[in-house]
Structure formats: C-alpha cells, structure tokens
Symmetry: D3
Subunit: 66 residues, 6 copies
C-alpha cells in the first residue's frame, strides 16, 4: 500500500502525462517491491514557478534566464 | 502540538465540511493523546481528480466508470 | 480515497493509541465526507522532540521548562 | 541537498516575499549545516484560510474574530 | 527539478531495492516530462507497520490476518 | 501560523544545529511575513543516505565517490 507524492512545477502538464506518471509510479512499486497496485496511491502536486526555489532563486527567475 | 494533513479529492467540499474535519481531527488528538488543541494544526489539501491515482488510474477515470 | 498524515512528537505513544488514531481519522472521513474506509490511508509519523520546534524552541527545551 | 517545504495561509503573499523566503531558507541551510545551495529546494505552499485549522477553528473564522 | 516522496511500510527493504526505486522514479520523470535527472530528488520513507493504517486497521494487524 | 518542514540527510546533525535551524526558520517567517512565532511549527526530518536520491543515485553512493 505505497504512497507516492510527485511535486513538479506547474507548466502545462497534460492529463495524459499525469496518467503516465501515475501508471509508471504504480508499476515501479510492483516491479521493485511487488506491491499491490490496487492500494497504491499516487498524488501529483503542481507548484507555481514563483513558489519553487532552487539555488536560492525562484524557477520563474531561472526560466527567464535560460 | 500535533500536525494533521488531510488530502482529499477536490470535489465540492463545503466550508462546513472542512470545519467538521478540522474540529474532528483536533478532538481526536485530544481524546487519544490528550494533546493541547490550541497548538494543533489541521491542513486540508484538495487534489484535482486528474492528479490522484489509485490502482494506476486517475480518479477522473474511475469516476467516469462508476 | 483520502490520505491522512498525523505528525506527533515521539513520546511513548502505544500501539493501542496508534490504532485509536487510525480508527478515529478513518471514521471522521466516513462521517463528514462519506469516504470509503477501505481506501483511506492514515500514516502516523513520530518526530523526536529535538526535531520539532514551536515558538523558535525545540519541544525538548519546552518539556524541560514545564 | 536539503528540501524545505513552507506552508502558509494564502493571503496575498507577493513574488518578492516568496523570493525572500526562498533566499532566506536556502541561506539558513548554508549557515547552519554548510549545505550546497545549488541542490537546495524550497517549495512554498499557500493554503486557503478555509483549509487551515488551529485550535479546532478555521483561519477564516479566526480572521473574522480578530 | 521534480521532488518524489515514496512512503512504504518498513519491511526489510534492501539498499538495492531503494536504489531501484530511486533510478526508476528519476527515469519516469525524464521519460514523461523530460525533466533533468540531475535536479530530481527522490526521498523514500519507511513507515512502521504500527503507524500505517488502511481500512481503519494497522498494517501490523492486517499482516497477522493474512 | 506557518508550518516549515526541513528534510536533510541523517549525517550527525547536532541538537545545537537543529535548534539553530528552528530559530532561523521561525525568524525568517517573522521577518518576511510578520508571522507570529508562537504558532510557527518547524519539523526537521533526517533521512538515511540510502533513502535519498539525486540524479538517480543514492546519497550513500555519492558520498563514496566524493
């Protein structure tokens, strides 16, 4: 009964991509630890680029530079 | 000083229901562990049904089937 | 399919108390939102009092004062 | 490679304030533990005042009283 | 720069299995969203079976029944 | 009433360093957002280096290489 929480920046992730993340993470737990997929939760959280920092800078700032 | 995080799908939960969850979770910590309610935090996070997977499927998909 | 995470200080919580927290939190989601208990997760995390701060002080420090 | 998650109520926090939180938290890990800022993540989550409870009451309710 | 948090029950997971989870989750984010693996974090948390509940019962209890 | 969660690798962090993290994070929220320190929580989680991955490798592995 694993629980997987995936945080990513909120940058136009499609429902199909979310479905692929959910399927892939669930399958990973089956493959590695033989966990039951029926009781595997995957929760995706999309975080505004203003609210995510790395290296002391917001991702909003980093995206402008690149 | 407990901290309770409740994640639920974002499906028209009312302010009254949120208040009931907060009261109930706070009281549970009083009843079971005699914790001080004044320093008990409850945070409710509502998650889009596209972003919550169980059994390798999004809840959006599961709701359509049921 | 709710997910509840309860963080408390690690101060000799018994298995019976943990069971009571799990039952109580699961029932709360049934009562307030009619959620299915079979797919309700409750995870309790016990945090060392050195690692929990409130008001800028560790709980270890606060326990010594009280 | 620390990970810092800051949850605050969603009450008109500006991008400049978010930047200050990210810089400050990253610097704190440098100062105290000599962590590499390049692999320090800070994620800020803004929570609706209806969804945050303290003392068994929502922050929405507490704001009205004060 | 995704962040993946995997919570599983604490039941003799080996370092090799943890490595496989970390590799697999990192690759999933590359495959689905083209994320940079260098700034992808994966954190595995092992939870005592007394502290994990599903269906209102601890996993400790469920393991004894099965 | 902010909540700050700091995850770091479990590598001999002292009680004094934990106290410094708690004080610093609490003060940061006072300085930037004028939050009340009395209801500011800081929780530090120390994660085994086998359980933390970056770039698809465990920190245990990275420490051996460096």
């Amino acid at each position: 009964m694993p629980y997987v929480n995936i945080k990513i920046t909120d940058e136009q992730v499609t429902p199909e991509q979310k479905q692929a993340l959910i399927e892939g993470a669930t399958q990973l737990l089956v493959d590695v630890l033989n966990k039951n997929p029926k009781t595997t939760f995957v929760i995706i959280e999309e975080v505004n680029t203003d609210n995510w920092g790395i290296g002391g800078q917001t991702v909003t700032h980093l995206r402008k530079q690149s």
